[in-house]
């Protein structure tokens, strides 16, 4: 009975798998210095940006693709078979530069993202500024003027390079240097767009900022960068969403996100990752190889990562916090769901450098089908980080007996005053729980949804309201048919 339901649902599950038919300008596949020159020229970049890219590219050439250590399996990627730039062609008849091709507006509308400021989305309040990234370019950033009144800069990365070079030069690569790792180096060389935001001193950002990433073109990779700088005493809540068409080929998404929190600043970063996960046989889907890291550079600063990971064929992602400032706080709340043949190796790194630094890690893994779900996390307490505290809780929930859940915690303590706690549990979704729910009139899907949402509650509670509702639905959809 279970398998029937499973088969019925899996194919039709991914509701975001459509393709937008739009004229694009796409580079031929291949990666070499000429491509980087062309890319930089396309974006009309200053010389220093081109040099940054080329330096990163040269470093990348000397690096080795990571294998073995992450608990994921995929064929070797042919980086010369990927196109590194694809952008919708600008229509000449559009009246102003600010105008967006209606086809693109429609696409984002279909994804539940409104690019018209006055328009309310279904179930989403209009109090969210959106940067919409379509393949290699940002097509529109809303509420820019409203935000600017408070001094908040929110724009595409490309625009920031042009308009705020001093900030980009100062902060880009500060947390994730180009040589950090293989995919970060690749990103630094070929990144196409992304979002930049700067919250000035003492400003509480008046609305939530968000970036929505959409991959549309085939044969391309998406390499975006996000840079968030929260100056002294400021606060911002940032949301990130992403989807891609349903295709048989694998597509690479190698992003870099950097967060800098100055003294007394707080950044809350929430992700609902919903890249196309591939079909039930593991065909197609996005390879999501992402480097996300923040630094609490000033005293009393705080960075909080919340992620709900339901998509991608392969996820390789460790949003981390460097706790440099005294009394700074790092948090990581994660729900990672894998179904069918998906594989996820995700977790966090909490690097305690300052005194009285605190970190919390709550990770909830859910594996179903034939999938593999790993938590990998590092808690490092450096010498001199007196009175550092960490609490980690890693729970795994198994659905069925063909999937795997793994926990790889690394703990390095160089200071005697540290207090580090680690708790881990693995449980199976109970037949008894399911039967109990069914006996009260809930069908299997409803019962699974309810039980899973209950299991993830601690994490879902951390999401902004609009996201929490979406995440709850997404969890139910991702696991549809996984229990018979």
């Amino acid at each position: 009975m279970g398998n029937e339901i499973l088969e019925q649902h899996i194919q039709s599950d991914y509701k975001w798998g459509f393709i937008t038919d739009i004229d694009t300008e796409t580079f031929a596949p291949g990666l070499n210095e000429n491509v980087i020159h062309a890319l930089s020229k396309k974006k009309n970049e200053p010389e220093w940006m081109l040099e940054y890219r080329l330096k990163a590219y040269k470093a990348w050439l000397t690096m080795k693709e990571p294998d073995h250590w992450a608990h994921v399996h995929y064929p070797k990627i042919d980086f010369n078979n990927i196109s590194y730039y694809s952008a919708p062609k600008k229509k000449t008849e559009l009246a102003s530069l600010d105008e967006v091709d209606p086809e693109l507006l429609k696409t984002f509308e279909k994804l539940g993202i409104s690019l018209e400021e006055q328009k309310r989305l279904t179930g989403v309040s209009s109090n969210i500024a959106v940067d919409a990234v379509f393949d290699s370019v940002s097509v529109k950033t809303t509420f820019r003027e409203t935000l600017l009144e408070k001094g908040v800069i929110f724009c595409s990365f490309s625009e920031a390079v042009q308009e705020h070079p001093e900030l980009i030069k100062k902060y880009m690569g500060m947390v994730v240097p180009p040589t950090d790792n293989y995919y970060a180096a690749l990103n630094a060389a070929v990144f196409s767009d992304g979002s930049f935001c700067y919250i000035p001193k003492g400003v509480r950002c008046p609305m939530e900022l968000s970036t929505y990433f959409r991959i549309n073109a085939s044969g391309t990779g998406q390499f975006e960068r996000t840079l968030i700088v929260a100056d002294e005493g400021s606060y911002v809540s940032y949301l990130e969403g992403c989807t891609a068409p349903q295709r048989d080929e694998n597509q690479l998404h190698a992003a870099v996100v950097e967060i800098i929190a100055h003294k007394d600043a707080e950044v809350k970063y929430s992700t609902v990752q919903n890249w196309y996960p591939g079909d039930k046989d593991g065909k197609g889907g996005i390879y999501n190889f992402v480097t996300k890291r923040g630094i609490c550079s000033g005293d009393n600063s705080k960075i909080s990562w919340t992620q709900v990971e339901t998509g991608s064929a392969i996820t390789w992602k460790y949003p981390s916090v460097i706790l440099k400032g005294n009394n700074s706080i790092g948090e990581f709340y994660s729900v990672a769901v894998t179904n069918n043949k998906q594989e996820a190796d995700t977790g966090t790194k909490m690097i305690h450098i300052g005194k009285n630094t605190r970190s919390t890690i709550i990770s909830k893994g859910i594996s179903a089908g034939f999938s593999n779900n790993s938590y990998r996390g590092l808690v490092q307490i450096r010498k001199g980080a007196t009175n550092a505290r960490n609490f980690s809780q890693c729970d795994s929930l198994l659905m069925g007996d063909k999937c795997g859940a793994h926990t790889f915690p690394y703990i390095e303590i160089k200071d005697k005053t540290a207090i580090v706690e680690h708790e881990a549990t693995t449980s199976k979704i109970g037949e008894d729980q399911l039967f109990y729910c069914k006996q009260r009139g809930l069908d299997t899907e409803k019962a699974v949804g309810l039980i899973v949402n209950g299991y993830c509650k601690e994490v879902l509670n951390k999401l902004p309201m609009e996201f929490a509702v979406e995440a709850q639905k997404l969890l139910a959809v991702s696991l549809e048919g996984s229990v018979g």
């Binding site: 109970g430 037949e431 008894d432 729980q433 039967f435 109990y436 729910c437 069914k438 006996q439 009260r440 009139g441 809930l442 069908d443 299997t444 409803k446 019962a447 309810l450 039980i451 949402n453 209950g454 299991y455 993830c456 509650k457 601690e458």
Partner: protein, 253 residues
């Protein structure tokens, strides 16, 4: 209400129920008693449709429909309620949310619209009183950290909320002290109407002092070996199950 004919069921290939016949009419309370391992819990699980229980023979008609053809959730929505012997915990899911989902699923099935939040909360308040359930428990996760007695009272609370036609109480008295037993029994008695029927499964006579049955059946070796009125339970209490065992253990199946 429910007619069970020659019901045979096995678990892992081992036959546990070996030809149960039982008819329960609306307004009636039937008690099923029997020693450990006689098949009491199997009977309730089979009626509720739990996986792992294979019906090998026989039929069950519930309000004119074939019960055995229905999924467990459909049986519930058709009005069959099982008060579990061991209610399970569902962490992170509040009792209220759970009940609201269950109630609205049933209403949707019946072609009714979902209940307004205000009406729902009023209903919760009313039914909570019935089993003297602390208001705080309604907001806690389903059965999580509840005492044994609270869990059982919560079952009756859910029963009251969902308003089923046929209630099966599976050893609801186990693990209850005298006071809790009285609370649970009072709840059941208050909910009793001429349209509802109860099947009360128990080891002991003591529950039947509070919930007085119209009929008592003794289950042994997967069959009902003796039926009678409430006096049968008293007789059984006096003699113990050994008498029954002696009398029926050599009966061929």
């Amino acid at each position: 209400m429910i007619t069970i004919k020659n019901l045979h069921a096995s678990v892992d290939g081992k036959e546990i129920l070996r030809g149960i016949n039982l008819e329960v009419k609306a307004g009636e309370i039937h008690a099923i008693m029997g020693p450990n391992g006689s098949g009491k819990s199997t009977l309730s699980n089979v009626l509720a449709g739990k996986q792992d229980y294979e019906v090998t023979e026989g039929e069950v008609t519930f309000n004119g429909k074939n019960l055995l053809d229905m999924e467990p959730d459909v049986r519930a929505k058709e009005g069959l309620f099982l008060a579990f012997q061991y209610p399970v915990e569902i962490p992170g899911v509040s009792n209220i949310n759970f009940l609201k989902t269950a109630l609205n699923e049933k209403r949707t099935y019946e072609g009714k619209s979902s209940m307004e939040a205000k009406d729902f909360l009023a209903l919760v308040k009313e039914k909570q009183k019935l089993v003297e359930l602390d208001g705080k428990l309604a907001n806690r996760s389903v059965n999580e950290g509840f005492s044994g007695g609270e869990k059982k009272r919560n079952e009756i609370f859910q029963m009251a909320m969902l308003d089923p036609k046929l209630c099966i109480l599976d050893e609801t008295d186990s693990g209850l002290d005298i006071d809790a037993l009285r609370v649970v029994a009072n709840g059941v008695n208050t909910l009793k109407t001429k349209d509802k029927a109860y099947i009360v499964i128990t080891h002991y006579q003591r529950l039947l002092d509070h919930i007085v049955p119209d009929f008592v059946h003794i289950l042994y070796n997967g069959r009902i070996v003796k039926s009678g009125t409430k006096e049968l339970a008293l007789e059984l209490e006096a003699k113990g199950y050994d008498e029954i065992k002696k009398e029926f253990e050599n009966t061929p199946v």
